[in-house]
């Protein structure tokens, strides 16, 4: 029971009928941290958020806020803030009344309320919008009203449920930065639920990737992206080229030789734990932007299936003999294939990622 941990989950599970929506899950969020729960729909991230908010009672385990067990407390007594996917601004109230609502339920005198509401609307750059009706606000403005409403009560933890999902692309990007800036300035501990990997990478200090009712990996955005532990994580965050192989023996410090399951059995070096034995099966992932292509001959030769210009880079789709799925390469330059239509493929050793399992699903 550590009072300095703003939010922790201890072995929380949730069952709906026969299905286990949330397998035993523990999670600790540090003060001022923004933690993303990232995963495809049905992975349990929303269930987790609803348990934290108090809308859903876990079957086992407990929820602690500031070291206090709140598992049995109803949502209105947990002192949290929450931004909903569709904002859920009360349509029968003005912008000011919406923001003031949380203060009203706490019985704050009107004068003090007005002052706090104004300050909060200033913070989200909506000064002078107090008397507007909700219908007069654009999507981005509604989003900011929802944020102001959830922050005005000084919540212990801020919960964000797909907060930017309803905005168009450009607005979403600018809101990501703005939301993050406000969160940092207030130093408020936050949990953001999202299925958008880019949002998770942009906005959070740590990401908890969820799949099939459990957290499969927790780490900083760079950690998760550069060192995914499973094929699922490597493919859910960004694109990954997957190669199968077998252990061929130790190379230099911390590195292993891996013989890829490809026509002339090329051997590559991959960093891995010292505990590996024998000729176990190894799965290797390499990010498309880490792959290098050249017209010259290298160990791997692929056929060019297509090249797409994507603005800041070219996306190559390559066929590698012996692989069913195509290989993707992102490159800033346009590389010309050799006369026989093939292209050389390789990568610096440090960018090969050894996956510790065959991947969830």
């Amino acid at each position: 029971m550590n009072a300095s941990v703003p939010l922790s989950l201890e072995n929380v599970t949730k069952r709906y009928g026969q299905t286990l929506a949330l397998k035993p899950t523990s999670l600790h969020v540090a003060p001022g941290e923004m933690l993303a729960l990232l995963g495809p729909s049905g992975c349990g991230k929303t269930t987790t958020l609803r348990i934290i908010a108090g809308f859903s009672m876990p079957n086992t385990g407990s929820v602690l806020i500031g070291g206090v067990d709140v598992t049995e407390l109803p949502p209105n007594r947990r002192g949290l803030g929450m931004v909903f996917q569709n904002y859920s601004l009360f349509p029968h109230m003005t912008v000011g009344q919406n923001v003031a609502y949380g203060l009203k339920t706490r019985g704050m005198p009107a004068a003090e309320r007005t002052k706090k509401v104004r300050a909060m609307l200033d913070l989200v750059r909506l000064s002078n919008f107090e008397d507007r009706s909700i219908h007069q606000m654009s999507g981005g403005q509604q989003q900011r009203v929802a944020l102001a409403r959830s922050l005005v009560t000084d919540p212990k933890v801020l919960l964000l449920d797909e907060p930017l999902g309803a905005l168009d692309r450009n607005l979403r990007e600018s809101m990501q930065f703005e939301l993050r800036a406000i969160q940092r300035r207030l130093g408020i501990t936050s949990i953001i639920v999202t299925h958008d990997q880019e949002e998770a990478l942009t906005m959070s200090d740590r990401i908890a990737v969820m799949a099939e009712g459990e957290i499969v990996q927790v780490g900083t955005p760079i950690d998760i992206y550069e060192r995914p532990q499973s094929q699922f994580v490597s493919e859910f965050l960004g694109t990954a080229n997957i190669f199968d192989g077998t252990l061929a023996g130790p190379a230099e410090a911390g590195m292993w030789n891996v013989r890829l399951t490809l026509p002339n059995a090329p051997v590559v070096k991959v960093a891995g734990p010292p505990s590996l034995r024998g000729s176990s099966a190894i799965r290797v992932a390499v990010r498309p932007e880490r792959l290098a292509i050249s017209p010259e001959s290298t160990q791997l030769r692929a056929n060019v299936r297509g090249i797409v210009f994507r603005g800041s880079y070219y996306a190559y789709e390559l066929d590698l003999p012996g692989l069913e799925k195509p290989i993707y390469v992102y490159s800033g330059e346009k590389t010309v294939a050799a006369n026989d239509g093939t292209i050389g493929l390789g990568w610096p050793d440090e960018y090969a990622i050894m996956l510790s399992d065959g991947g969830v699903r």
Binding site: A53, M82, F84, S88, H92, Y101, T105
Partner: protein, 279 residues
């Protein structure tokens, strides 16, 4: 082949006039409204007749029948009973029907499903049967033929009208609003009165209005409970017509119609009828 037009010219396209189809449609709409409104218009007209029995075309104009209905005590007394019953049953129906609807929507159980269907029973059973069985039951409860019995009977019918419309409106409102209020510290009571109620108000208004109009005009139920202090206007009108056939019946019908129109007008002024029908 390409033709190059050197002098750009504006070509006025011939605008099509109304075709046969449109003329027919207009005629149909006109006929439709005539069919709908003509009988009502004739009732209103006849109420101003100078003849002492209902005849059309009427021989002359007079307001005597309006004096007659004011002087004829049963009409005024039963009109008062009808209005009281209509308003009170709508109120009781709201108090009883709204919580039922709210539960039925949010409780995601089979029982709620069954309940939603059963709730409509009072308006699916023939009204005569319902009135008859209620008379039996209320007599057994020693209430018999009384104002209270009449009120209970009308409330039984008001509940489905109100809860059904509230149900439809409330179904369209996501639980998010209530959850948002809960996170903001609102208690169950605060959520209900400050969030849920304002959101379902169109449904309550619409349902209550329906139930008032249905109650004002209900004969088969009221018929069983027509005592000295509990005869509603339609019951008195029916018995009047069995003996006499003078235009005062048209006059009282016009008054009744006026009440309904005024009620709609008030609701429209406060709320807007378009919002009711949207519900």
């Amino acid at each position: 082949m390409t033709t190059i037009v050197t002098t750009p010219q504006v070509i006025e396209r011939r605008q099509k006039g109304p075709g046969w189809g449109q003329v027919l449609l207009a005629a149909y709409v006109l006929l439709f409204f005539a069919f709908l409104l003509l009988p009502i218009a004739i009732v209103v007209l006849v109420s101003f007749s100078s003849s002492s029995f209902i005849v059309f075309p009427m021989p002359g104009f007079s307001t005597q029948w309006y004096y007659r209905i004011v002087e004829y005590r049963p009409f005024m007394q039963s009109l008062l009973v009808s209005v009281e019953i209509a308003l009170l049953s709508a109120l009781a129906g709201t108090v009883l029907g709204v919580p039922a609807a709210i539960w039925a929507v949010r409780a995601n159980t089979n029982a709620a499903q069954v309940f939603t269907n059963v709730m409509l029973a009072p308006i699916s059973v023939p009204a005569i049967l319902l009135g008859f069985s209620l008379l039996y039951m209320l007599s057994a409860l020693t209430l018999g033929v009384s104002f209270l019995s009449l009120l209970i009977t009308h409330t039984v019918v008001a509940i489905p009208y109100i809860s059904r419309t509230v149900l439809a409106v409330y179904r369209g409102i996501p639980a998010d609003y209530e959850e948002a209020a809960a996170v903001l510290g609102a208690s169950r009571a605060q959520i209900f009165f400050q969030i849920t109620m304002p959101l379902i108000k169109p449904g309550i208004f619409a349902g209550a209005l329906f139930s008032v109009l249905i109650s004002l005009d209900n004969l088969p139920l009221s018929f069983f409970f027509g005592g000295a202090s509990s005869s509603s206007l339609p019951v008195v009108m029916l018995s009047y017509m069995q003996n006499q056939f003078d235009p005062s019946i048209a006059a009282i019908a016009t008054v009744q119609m006026l009440i309904a129109i005024v009620a709609l007008g008030i609701v429209n002024a406060i709320y807007g009828v378009d919002k009711l029908t949207a519900a």
